[in-house]
Symmetry: C2
Subunit: 233 residues, 2 copies
DNA sequence: ATCGTCGAGTTTGTATACAATTATTCCGTT
DNA sequence: AACGGAATAATTGTATACAAACTCGACGAT
């Protein structure tokens, strides 16, 4: 019997949710998911429990039994979530600013590399929104992995993909937005390079706050844009 | 068959860990725990998975199989953990500072009530360290519950008890320390009352940073003070 | 004596059976 | 036709059985 199906189920389920192939609000039936994965209910249950604790899945009702649904998306939730991500990555950036000078310099160079790639990708026509998305992710991941401790990394790994649910749905791709983001990134990079933890932290928080605003504006203009066909069962 | 044993197992296990009756580093055997609780392995497993994700339990090794142990305590971990708690509660305090004036006033009054109770409890001889601990907890819980959104509350509920593992072990009770804490609390309260989110947030972060320092000093003088008899099985 | 290998015991991962509760359908009554 | 209620199905929670992998010790070969 293959081991670690629970982990596989966790990853697959999380991916299905983040990619919105399991759309917000969809009911999650253990038996159906188990059939889909070819597993038994046991590993699926374990995965669902964890996803519920992390916020991907919501336990509604509260009678004797629990009903699990894919956590719905809302502007208010996005604001709260982005603020939390900003605080977490802000701590990582603060830690990055206390690294030895040599490492800070190298980190700053790497980060600037991502930003240049971002500008280049945005200049493409048509722009590859998948690549842009990926570059944003890696920019933030770089300094978190470099400077954050184990707890902070675990927390980041838990929460960050939930923000990606939003970013994937409402592709905030117009070029001006990317330029604005890159400008904000530069403030983060400079603060880290200068060893100013407070500035780095608040620059990251501001970046996410602005991202939330851009997202809210995007939602207002194009509500509910499910791009992938949902799984109907 | 009684439902929701998994939740009961989660709570009991978390309590055993926080109270250090399951000491740091202790191996967690599903069968033993199941016997102890009178449950089967199934709900115990579910509880352990969640506790592992939250950080109470550490999955060591990483072979094909997983070994779970109670997460060890260390000064570095405490620093990181307290910093995270500070950031989370900092967001809550920031939100509290944006409440309508009337609510801010009432919240501030309640918080000052906790602080006065703290000073009174500290003046007692002998001081009731259990009550002091409880008052600290409730002080912070109050503004989180009042102002934080659902996500932030869930995150707080996940992480905060882990800080309490440390605070319970190294009772940071000397009176001067309490006075210092109360002084820091007053800065938090004033900032909330004044509607200054930035000040409130950084005051909370500073409070936890200082708490980490006090804790580190306490650990240095009285290392490894397990006050309760560990469970041997 | 040291190292490796084989094997019994332990522990975890998964599947499945069963129990209990909630949702749904279908029928009868008014 | 609408409503209520009983029967039925669906779904979750728990227990248990079994399989695979790891641990640790004993024994033997070099």
């Amino acid at each position: 019997m293959a081991r670690q199906r629970a982990t596989a189920a966790y990853r697959q389920l999380r991916q299905l949710i983040v990619s919105s192939r399991l759309p917000p609000g969809a009911r999650l039936i253990e038996t159906d998911l188990a059939r889909r994965f070819g597993f038994s209910r046991t590993p699926v249950r374990a995965a669902l429990r964890v996803l519920a604790r992390e916020g991907y899945v919501l336990a509604v009702d509260g009678g004797e039994r629990i009903r699990l649904v894919v956590a719905p998306l809302s502007v208010e939730d996005a604001r709260e979530l982005f603020q939390i991500v900003g605080a977490i990555e802000g701590l990582a950036a603060r830690a990055a600013a206390t690294l030895p000078l040599r490492k800070r310099r190298r980190l700053a160079a790497e980060l600037r590399g991502f930003d240049q790639a971002l500008l280049a990708a945005a200049a493409q026509n048509p722009s590859d929104s998948e690549e842009i998305f990926d570059l944003f992710t890696r920019f933030h991941l770089r300094y978190v992995e470099t400077a954050a401790g184990p707890r902070l990394r675990a927390l980041h790994d838990s929460i960050k993909p939930q923000a990606e649910r939003y970013r994937r749905l409402y592709s905030m791709a117009p070029e001006g937005r990317i330029a604005a983001s890159v400008a904000e990134h530069e403030m983060i990079i400079t603060a880290i390079e200068d060893g100013s933890g407070d500035d780095a932290s608040s620059a990251v928080a501001a970046n996410w706050q602005n991202a939330a605003e851009r997202l809210a504006a995007s939602i207002a203009t194009q509500p509910n844009p499910f791009s992938l066909p949902p799984i109907t069962t």
